[in-house]
């Protein structure tokens, strides 16, 4: 008879356990960094053509990818197929372009050019080697059928993304 109340008291004491929460924080830094090393410039070799080719007086944009971990990302680069800003155009613009591996920080990256996947105006490259790779983008706009571009300023945008695999 005497022990029961003691047991009951012990049960009650164990039931009132204090609870708490310990937060855990974490910050994820990007392991893939994209930097525009060189801004592109269109040359105007003939009235109907805008081109980034050096022979046409243009400058090809250079995009740098710094990848810290291999096999986690792919580079998706889109060359322009429209002007982001331009004078009013009343004819069709024919767009061509290309994305090539210009320089690498590791010899293994030289295979990127062979293994890249191209569709429409998009180029995808699996970044299978850690390090830095430089891509050059060429872009050419041909207006109408030998039609002169109206005078003014023309702007386009190359989109470069680092997509996690």
């Amino acid at each position: 008879m005497f022990k029961k109340p003691l047991v009951a008291a012990a049960v009650v004491f164990c039931g009132s356990v204090a609870a708490g929460e310990a937060p855990i924080m974490g910050t994820v830094q990007s392991k893939c960094v994209i930097v525009t090393d060189t801004i592109g410039v269109y040359g105007n070799p003939s009235p109907s053509i805008l081109s980034t080719t050096a022979a046409d007086g243009g400058v090809q944009p250079i995009i740098r990818y710094d990848v810290i971990n291999a096999d986690y990302y792919k580079a998706v680069i889109t060359y322009p197929n429209e002007f982001s800003s331009s004078p009013a155009l009343n004819d069709v613009v024919n767009w061509t372009g290309d994305v090539t591996v210009a320089e690498v920080s590791d010899a293994g990256m030289a295979a990127y050019d062979q293994n890249k996947i191209e569709y429409n105006n998009v180029t995808e490259v699996d970044l299978t080697v850690a390090g830095t790779v430089w891509f050059t983008v060429s872009s050419t706009a041909d207006y109408g059928y030998n039609k002169s571009f109206p005078a003014g300023t023309y702007n386009t945008v190359v989109t470069a993304e680092c997509v996690a695999l």
């Binding site: 210009a102 690498v104 920080s105 295979a111 050019d113």
Partner: protein, 247 residues
């Protein structure tokens, strides 16, 4: 590497950056070694290899950190190609650093500076110094003194000529410019010779308001009167002709 890295005590190389372009058939095997011999031992103090086998040629930029290797150990550098292919447009850049206070006997501003010991010369034990001191080269010579005085006067004259001719300072040598500065510091030339007069632009201050000028009625009358007189004089000749019957 004697002509690549500066001869600075305590210099260490902490990274090597190299760049080159390979020209090759993608199917060929090719390994490129960028290397530096160990100047104090055998083998290489730095060697980085890039395997281009089965890959197309491209340009490589590579930065490799090394653990502060002293300058003395960096021997001859080379780029060696193993396999098939060539390397073009190559460059290797060494990043280095050095402690300016590495030798504590050079810069008094460095902590723990130890001044270099002064050279001790025992004049009495040096026969050459004793002989020099005994040579009669300091004997008084009146002719020599006159020559020196004339040389001094001539030198002063030349300085003066240079200074006066140095007003056009653009044509002066640095030496003459210094002499001119010293000369002008003595203020022998009036300030107006060299001082620039304050200039400026005198702007137009008078302004005429645009108003419509009225016709001069008195003038008009005078002109009308003279016109009448002129016409009367012209008509006189015809009157004379009519009276004489001439046509």
């Amino acid at each position: 590497m004697e002509n690549v890295l500066p001869a600075q005590s305590g210099l260490t190389v902490n990274s090597v950056f190299y760049r080159y372009t390979t020209v090759k058939n993608p199917l060929d095997d090719m390994i490129v070694h960028v290397q530096n011999e160990d100047a104090l031992g055998s083998g290489y103090i730095f060697r980085s290899s890039d395997d281009w086998s089965g890959l197309p040629g491209n340009t490589i930029n590579k930065l490799i950190g090394v653990e502060s290797i002293p300058r003395e150990r960096w021997g001859n550098g080379s780029i060696e190609v193993e396999g098939f292919g060539t390397v073009e447009n190559s460059s290797v850049i060494y990043s280095y650093r050095y402690d300016t206070c590495f030798q504590n006997t050079v810069d008094p501003a460095c902590p723990g500076y130890i001044p270099p010991p002064l050279p001790t010369v025992d004049a009495f034990s040096d026969e050459e110094l004793i002989q020099k001191a005994m040579e009669p080269e300091n004997n008084w010579n009146p002719n020599k003194e006159d020559e020196e005085r004339r040389a001094f006067v001539n030198a002063q004259k030349r300085k003066l000529e240079k200074a006066l001719g140095g007003i056009n300072s653009a044509l002066m040598t640095a030496q003459a410019e210094t002499a001119a500065a010293l000369f002008f510091a003595m203020n022998p030339v009036p300030v107006s010779y060299t001082a620039s007069l304050p200039g400026g632009v005198y702007e137009e201050t008078i302004q005429y308001s645009s108003e419509q000028l009225q016709d001069n009625s008195k003038g008009r009358r005078a002109v009308f009167a003279s016109q009448l007189l002129h016409e009367e004089m012209v008509q006189l000749q015809y009157r004379g002709a009519e009276s004489t019957g001439e046509k």
